[in-house]
Subunit: 254 residues, 2 copies
């Protein structure tokens, strides 16, 4: 596996699959790497903690980073190129172009500017890597909605694949932020996947999820539409850690 | 020359040069076509009156349109493909992704949303046509600044060529909007190129241009920087027609 810091050193061949990541890799990312490995000639994983998508600088400051371990995992999963640029490679001095995707509600409302940062860095990565396919996790369902809209609206010839959420044995969706939870917080956090799972069969899934959150106060509980798939999504704060999760109600992610 | 209405029918080969236009073609566009013809295998001209870049709907309503004549001119100048999509091809139902380039001052301030519309349609055309080079006129100097910034910031591999302004014998810069001027208005409008030409050698070109405008009230007179080239730009309103113009003070357009 090559580790590449500079855009000009990428030199990619064949049909490329891109897995954009912010590092702190876990089994959720591994599922993306495996899907990409199965479908492309060349697999590129990007590792870039994108400052533009953090609405809270305090969250950016404590975002977990361990490139050595990330590189080992990526190599093990057959990634060909780990693109790990510094911030100045992506946002050089004088940078001033932003992509805004209309996406109100849920994360779009809870985290102002977040999707602008996501859309901008994804478009840049697409232009830099020129993938045929790009891989995103269902856990960030609204991110997948935003990226699919971006691809369609800006006439990009890229297939956006959405891979099902990977969960720990206790049901908590894998997230790089889970490492920040104390054992007691983790126990409380389980209220989120449990509420979503119980609400999934209900006639009023939003009300049902709210009723089952077991004392957790949600930022939101909302229904999302991902190209026809109906998703029940929620965000909660447990201590100082914000967690999101969702379940598919109908349709498929494709 | 092929006239193409749908993105899926483009089927382009070789190194492509793109000349984005809003039609109502004149000798300024012809200079762009000739530059593109000299440097590329395939020349594509787009003809699309982009609603998103009109800050005034009244201006959009009266924008001159004559596709038959435009197609004749394009064919005569060796354009291979005239891409003339309808509005729904570029902005289908549900469209909601916009590109914002930081560019304050001059047109950016005078026409809110204008450069957002320009940047978005240019990025779409670049993704649709995949040109190696794209051609813009110096008359819209700030548009060239915005498009060069977009290309650099979004990591596009496209050379943006800026071709000198073409003028009528009396000095007025060619513009599709000139047809709206009455003979008396046209005489008054000449105050704009004359003021810019006289101011070009002055120690304080902004003050000099303002002093020479011969009764025209400018929207702005400003200095612009186009990759190191220094440009004196101004906008005036003559009757109901708004005109822009500029002169190069130092550097070159390349």
């Amino acid at each position: 596996m090559r580790i590449v810091r500079h855009i000009s050193d990428l030199g990619l061949d064949g049909e490329v699959g891109l897995v954009p990541t912010m590092g702190a890799l876990h089994a959720g990312h591994v599922a993306l790497f495996r899907a990409a490995r199965a479908e492309n000639d060349t697999v590129v994983a990007s590792l870039f903690v994108n400052p533009a998508q953090f609405d809270q600088q305090s969250d950016l400051a404590v975002y977990p980073r361990d490139e050595t371990r990330d590189a080992e995992i990526a190599e093990q999963e057959g990634v060909d190129v780990l693109f790990a640029p510094g911030p100045d490679e992506i946002y050089p001095a004088g940078f001033g172009t932003w992509v805004e995707v209309d996406e109100a509600g849920a994360e779009g409302t809870a985290r102002p500017g977040h999707f602008r940062g996501v859309a901008t860095v994804c478009l840049k990565l697409f232009n830099i890597v020129r993938p045929r396919r790009a891989y995103f996790g269902q856990k960030d369902a609204q991110q997948a909605i935003v990226v699919r809209r971006l691809v369609r609206d800006l006439d990009l010839d890229i297939r956006i694949r959405v891979i099902p959420t990977v969960r720990d044995a206790d049901g908590l969706a894998l997230s790089s932020r889970n490492v920040r939870l104390s054992p007691a917080e983790r126990e409380r956090a389980l209220g989120l996947p449990r509420a979503l799972a119980k609400a999934a069969g209900s006639a009023d899934p939003i009300a049902a999820a709210r009723a089952e959150l077991n004392g957790l106060t949600p930022d939101y509980v909302e229904l999302l539409d991902l190209d026809g798939a109906r998703i029940l999504a929620a965000a909660v704060r447990v201590g100082s850690t914000r967690l999101i999760d969702n379940v598919l109600l109908e349709g498929d992610l494709s």
